[in-house]
């Protein structure tokens, strides 16, 4: 940055009297991010997707109340409404949330390239690094919103439809107060967003390499499924530490008392590795990509 600044100054000095000419090289970053978020949120598919995510915990709540059967992860919800948001997050994380993030990442680079709008941004110009930052921010916003919608609607549906507002009965049988329950829900949200950020980074890297959004979606879907299958093969146990999905069972840990942190921390670190890998590949490719 300082190098460009120096060059600009040298050039200004060279053109005496031209100082009044605007020389900004970048649009304000806040304006770019705002524009990106507006773009993401105006897209009909994002809104439909968020609406469907909102329906999901409501559907679970109705199902639980109607059947009133306990047993299993979902069975814990019976009479224990504050568990609903966490359970809904765990269920959605298996496939739906990665798909949502994959879709956002697919539109972010591949979709823009296909629409010819990536060229417009690069010509404005938005520097290629800023472009990656702006796109990553947009994907992160989708991850946070999708997770947040499930958690908030889940908590509301849990309290209103299932009941059990005096606290949360953990998987270990103890009861934590409402404040503690909300903290655990927040922890589940933060942890899920972290895992989704990893998926998003990898999806963005794929998106940087193609101009077909479907390829990105297929890659995310393929990755989640293949990782799941590999994780289920005992002979491939040694692969477990490298698979992002192998830590996804720790989501349920927030429902235990005392809270075992190890699984959550390990899976978050693993997510950070994927985030770095995906982010690095995205930047590498976008600095070179033809538009």
């Amino acid at each position: 940055m300082s190098e460009t600044g120096g060059r600009q100054q040298a050039e200004l000095a060279g053109r005496v009297g031209a100082a009044s000419e605007p020389t900004a090289q970048n649009a304000p970053i806040g304006r770019l991010l705002g524009s990106e978020v507006r773009w993401v949120l105006r897209r009909p598919r994002t809104l439909v997707m968020l609406a469907l995510f909102a329906l999901m915990p409501v559907t679970i709540a109705i199902g639980v109340v109607a059947s009133n059967r306990s047993g299993g992860l979902v069975g814990n919800i019976v009479g224990n409404g504050l568990v609903l948001p966490v359970v809904a997050l765990i269920l959605a994380q298996a496939l739906l949330l990665p798909l949502a993030v994959g879709m956002a990442a697919a539109d972010a680079l591949a979709g823009e390239a296909a629409a010819g709008t990536l060229r417009g941004l690069l010509l404005a110009p938005v520097s290629r690094l800023r472009l990656v930052g702006m796109k990553a921010f947009g994907v992160l916003v989708v991850a946070v919103l999708a997770t947040g919608v499930i958690a908030v609607v889940g908590a509301l549906a849990g309290v209103l439809l299932v009941g059990g507002t005096d606290g949360l009965v953990t998987l270990s049988g103890t009861t934590v107060g409402v404040g503690g329950a909300l903290c655990r829900i927040l922890l589940a949200v933060a942890w899920t967003v972290g895992q989704l950020a990893a998926i998003g980074a990898v999806a963005l890297a794929v998106s940087a390499w193609t101009e077909h959004p479907l390829v990105v979606l297929a890659s995310v879907l393929g990755m989640v499924i293949v990782f799941g299958v590999l994780g289920a093969i005992p002979a491939l146990d040694w692969l477990q530490p490298y698979l992002l999905t192998s830590g996804w069972t720790s989501g349920a840990d927030v429902l235990r008392d005392p809270l075992p942190a190890r699984g959550l921390v390990e899976s978050t670190l693993r997510a950070l590795c994927y985030l770095a890998l995906g982010g690095g590949l995205t930047v590498y490719r976008m600095l070179r990509r033809d538009a």
Partner: protein, 294 residues
């Protein structure tokens, strides 16, 4: 642009082009489909790196540094179908470095007005006609005052009124001192608006320079209309390069003494000269000759 070369796999799209575009000129870039016009423009704008050679854009060795002052419409307009024309432009304007945040909305309104889209501004881009899409692309290229405007096939899909508008806009830009690069295969368009021409053929530059110079250099010399073609050719063999014209009864003299002397010689030899005139090539002839030679 110096020694520009671009290779895609085994395809050489642009091969060793040296071209200087004078500040304030309107350069028409001509060439058949696939001759490398768009690739050349994309390299100029830093959208794709050259395989060899270098670009200097408004004095910057790195094109990106000059881009805030450059407006471009490359490979057709690129916008999102689910947004209105105005929202698409607002998004483009938000990314413009030279636009202050408080100016974004009024600038967009002005730009829409300028290209005649004010009435359709709040309709979805998806429902725009080809010409309206093209107009929106123009509006995006002209959001802020530019020092260089690059228009790749700007009149694609435009109705006659739209074509006139583009011509007027190019004229305004030229009057304001901006440099304009227009690629087109509509030769009359280029002839009407451009001061300079560059002709590309199979990735190489086959001609470039001022339009007027190129046209006069490409002129076929003196055309003599006579019933005595054989006699005329025989007479001129000694003093000039003369050959049969395309039409019957025409002799074209491309090199030789001044016109009055040629006519005098012909008349002296008993050739009936019905008409003698300077042949005026138009751009279309020139273009056809340049691109069909190889």
């Amino acid at each position: 642009m110096r020694g520009l070369r671009k290779v895609f796999g085994t395809t050489v799209a642009v091969d060793g082009i040296d071209l200087e575009v004078p500040v304030g000129s309107v350069l028409g870039m001509l060439g058949p489909n696939g001759s490398g016009k768009t690739t050349l423009i994309r390299m100029l704008l830093g959208l794709t790196p050259p395989t060899a050679g270098a670009v200097e854009l408004l004095g910057h060795a790195d094109p990106v540094a000059a881009l805030p002052h450059v407006g471009a419409l490359v490979e057709g307009p690129g916008f999102h179908g689910f947004l209105s024309g105005r929202d698409n432009l607002l998004r483009a304007a938000a990314a413009e470095p030279l636009l202050a945040s408080r100016d974004v909305a009024p600038t967009v309104a002005t730009a829409l007005e300028r290209v005649g889209l004010a009435a359709a501004a709040d309709r979805r881009y998806r429902g725009y006609s080809l010409g309206m899409k093209q107009r929106l692309g123009l509006a995006a290229a002209l959001l802020v005052p530019r020092r260089l405007v690059v228009l790749d096939e700007p009149t694609n899909g435009l109705d006659p009124a739209g074509t006139r508008d583009v011509r007027r806009i190019i004229g305004e830009l030229h009057a304001d001192g901006a440099t304009v690069i227009v690629s087109s295969h509509l030769l009359t368009e280029v002839e009407a608006t451009c001061t300079h021409v560059a002709v590309l053929q199979a990735g190489t530059l086959v001609a470039s320079g001022e339009l007027a110079t190129l046209l006069s250099a490409g002129s076929g010399g003196l055309v003599v209309v006579t019933p005595d073609v054989e006699l005329a050719l025989h007479t001129l063999r000694e003093v000039a390069t003369a050959y049969r014209g395309d039409a019957a009864g025409e002799v074209v003299v491309s090199e030789g003494p001044p016109a009055p002397e040629i006519v005098a010689r012909l008349v002296h030899a008993g050739v009936a000269v019905h008409e003698a005139r300077r042949s005026r090539t138009n751009l279309e002839d020139l273009f056809a000759r340049l691109t069909e030679e190889s």
